[in-house]
């Protein structure tokens, strides 16, 4: 078996007294898509910067594709692609000029590989457009093309979909699946919970700590203890109040036009009905729901 694409042990980074990344350890195998989920400022970007050798770890060790992330960063960078939060695009250059530049910087012989990369991200035919005139979705594709132009084996995507519309986000994830199908390992950070569902495994990060890392299914099974119920009622706010008073209800919240709650197994439909009757609230419908990664995150944060 190949060595892991990324292996991180007790990785820590301090900025003065502030602990940005706090003794995290994880492994990413070749060909995986691993999501890194957490709120802004939780240490996701700092982790990626350490993996690329942009920042020196204060403690711990990171190995990327078998190389030490800091002391052998040149080797790492040759084989990895990086798409940063701020898309690293020159606004006053055209699509093609941007890619030609980065291609040249990697010493690529012209044309073949660059056209192929454009094709891959779906920008063929738009080569002569000035980048500042592109929509956010297209800028995102160009930034991905820049990260891909030298055919890396491992791709770091830092909040690649922030500020991009849902359609473009969906299309972007299709691209990521294609890349994964070609054997590229992907580590992607996001603060969109729904996006994390697309990943093979998900790491949950908060306050510099990696709280858990596993497949979305396993995370839900392990951390969401209870049954998820969806309750439709005319009295949403009073409903939350009534539900929250019950000891069996772990968490009740508003979910658009209905209420969502996690209750201990056995409490069931009957338990919810009892609560509503006691509070004299009308009930339209009760049905079982699916746990989400948001539930996992909430549960982890509570622990």
């Amino acid at each position: 078996m190949n060595p892991p694409a990324i292996e991180v042990t007790n990785l820590t980074r301090l900025f003065g007294d502030f602990v940005a990344v706090d003794h995290i350890s994880f492994k990413v195998n070749e060909g995986e898509i691993v999501g890194y989920l957490g709120p802004n400022g939780c240490g996701k970007t700092t982790t990626i910067r350490m993996l690329l050798g942009l920042l020196k770890p204060s403690e711990g060790k990171a190995t990327v594709l078998g190389y030490d992330a800091f002391s052998q960063s040149e080797e790492v960078r040759l084989r990895t692609g990086y798409m940063s939060q701020k898309f690293a695009i020159y606004d006053d250059l055209t699509v093609r000029e941007n890619l030609d530049f980065y291609g040249g910087v990697y010493g690529l012989k012209k044309n073949g590989q660059i056209s192929e990369t454009l094709e891959k991200v779906g920008l063929t035919g738009h080569e002569t457009l000035l980048t500042r005139e592109l929509s956010a979705g297209w800028r995102q594709r160009l930034a991905l093309a820049i990260a891909l132009v030298h055919r890396p084996r491992l791709l770091f995507l830092d909040e690649p979909t922030s500020g991009v519309d849902p359609n473009a986000r969906r299309a972007f994830w299709d691209l990521i699946y294609d890349l994964s199908g070609q054997g590229v390992t992907i580590l992607v950070t996001t603060h969109y919970m729904d996006e994390a569902e697309y990943c093979g495994r998900v790491g949950m990060m908060r306050g510099g700590q990696l709280l858990a890392m596993d497949t979305p299914g396993a995370l839900k099974a392990q951390f969401v203890q209870g049954e998820v119920w969806e309750v439709y009622t005319g009295a949403l706010l009073e409903g939350i109040k009534a539900l929250s008073q019950a000891r069996e209800v772990a968490h009740a919240s508003l979910a658009g036009d209905h209420l969502r709650l996690i209750a201990t197994p056995g409490f069931g439909e009957a338990g919810i009905q009892r609560l509503f009757q006691a509070a004299r609230l009308e009930l339209t419908l009760i049905q079982r729901g699916e746990p989400t990664l948001e539930d996992v995150f909430t549960a982890l944060v509570k622990k």
Partner: protein
């Protein structure tokens, strides 16, 4: 050349030529400076406006006036009828000098004891001191002339000669034209300002846009990034230098007496000081505005202490000492000497050495800091 370096240089050139307004500014600014300093910043005192209160109404009075007008130091602008009127003209600044010829001027002249009074506006010392010297000189030569006439009328053929005559020769700029002093200075200022400002802002722009992070994860080496980024600005600055020298020579008539090769060499060596300061500023600044102001902070002392307007020899000791740390000082001396005197390398080698040392020091300091910021 490796493909990384070529890629950076090509990218910088594309960006440079895409911003047409910026390019136009870079090419036009030297011309604006040249014409401003060639025409407006002129110390030569000519045509000082003069008011005359001639109370004598005599032929002799008019002769004196003609003598004042003959030299183009003064221009008779007003003939007034009272002292008050003259003073109010001086007060409003309509004239800078006034002359009062008394009623008994012609009679006194016969007696050989004539006096005229000359009043000067001293608020601009440059104008006043030149006008004063000119007025005394004109008065003296007029009286020598009149004495000569008197003696000839008495039938003598003796020529009057002052006992000591100082024969003056002004070398290199015999007509003492200010532009010959100013225009070589413009070359220095432009080379310095353009390279420093453009280098600083172009590096900081990468940081502002976040592209620097992407560049660091590519195989580019810091030295390649620096050389690649400054190459277009080096070429552009040299083009500006050629532009200023050409216009200075063909329009303003500034002589080019030294070898063009030496002038080119001096400009190239001096460029490194500007580039070094620009790069250094880029390691301090986080935004383009900060970069611009940082460079500006070095530009003002350079202009005032480097001998651009005022001779360094007249400055207080402490400022003279500071001026040794200003590269423009050495370059201004070199370029003025090369253009006006046409001497060889032997008389500028000290200044050249100083420029080389400054360039090496500032570039190394910038490179050291630059590397740290990339880590």
């Amino acid at each position: 050349m490796n493909s990384r370096l070529i890629s950076i240089i090509r990218k910088e050139f594309i960006q440079l030529f895409r911003d047409k307004r910026m390019l136009a500014l870079i090419l036009v600014i030297p011309l604006v400076q040249l014409f401003l300093l060639g025409y407006a910043a002129v110390n030569d005192v000519r045509n000082v406006p003069l008011a005359v209160f001639d109370q004598s109404h005599s032929v002799e009075g008019r002769e004196l006036l003609a003598a004042f007008q003959a030299a183009d130091y003064f221009k008779l602008t007003y003939a007034v009828d009272s002292n008050d009127e003259m003073l109010s003209l001086l007060e409003t600044g309509a004239v800078k000098a006034g002359m009062v010829i008394p009623p008994d001027y012609a009679i006194r002249l016969q007696e050989g004891r004539a006096q005229v009074s000359f009043i000067l506006d001293g608020s601009d010392p440059t104008v006043a001191s030149t006008a004063l010297a000119a007025a005394q000189l004109i008065g003296q030569s007029k009286s020598t002339e009149m004495m000569q006439q008197k003696i000839s009328r008495m039938g003598s053929t003796v020529k009057i000669q002052p006992p000591v005559e100082v024969l003056t020769t002004v070398l290199y700029n015999p007509d003492m034209i200010s532009a010959y002093f100013m225009i070589p200075g413009v070359i220095g200022m432009i080379l310095f300002a353009i390279t420093a400002i453009l280098t600083a802002t172009s590096v900081v722009r990468e940081r502002e846009r976040g592209t620097i992070e992407q560049l660091i994860v590519t195989p580019i080496r810091p030295i390649e990034l620096v050389i690649g980024k400054i190459t277009p600005y080096v070429l552009l600055s040299l083009f500006d230098a050629v532009e200023v020298i050409a216009v200075g020579h063909f329009w303003f008539g500034v002589p080019i007496r030294g070898s063009l090769l030496l002038i080119g060499l001096a400009c190239s060596v001096f460029l490194f000081s500007g580039l070094g300061i620009g790069l250094f500023a880029s390691t301090i600044a986080n935004t383009q505005q900060e970069a611009m102001l940082t460079v500006w902070m070095t530009l003002l002392p350079a202009i005032f202490l480097g001998g651009f307007f005022f001779p360094i020899e007249n400055m207080p000791q402490i400022l003279q000492a500071i001026s040794y740390a200003i590269p423009l000082r050495y370059f201004l001396r070199i370029i003025r000497v090369l253009l006006l005197k046409g001497v060889g390398i032997e008389s500028i080698q000290g200044d050249m050495l100083a420029l080389v040392i400054f360039g090496v020091v500032i570039m190394s300091a910038a490179a050291l800091r630059f590397r740290k910021r990339l880590d």
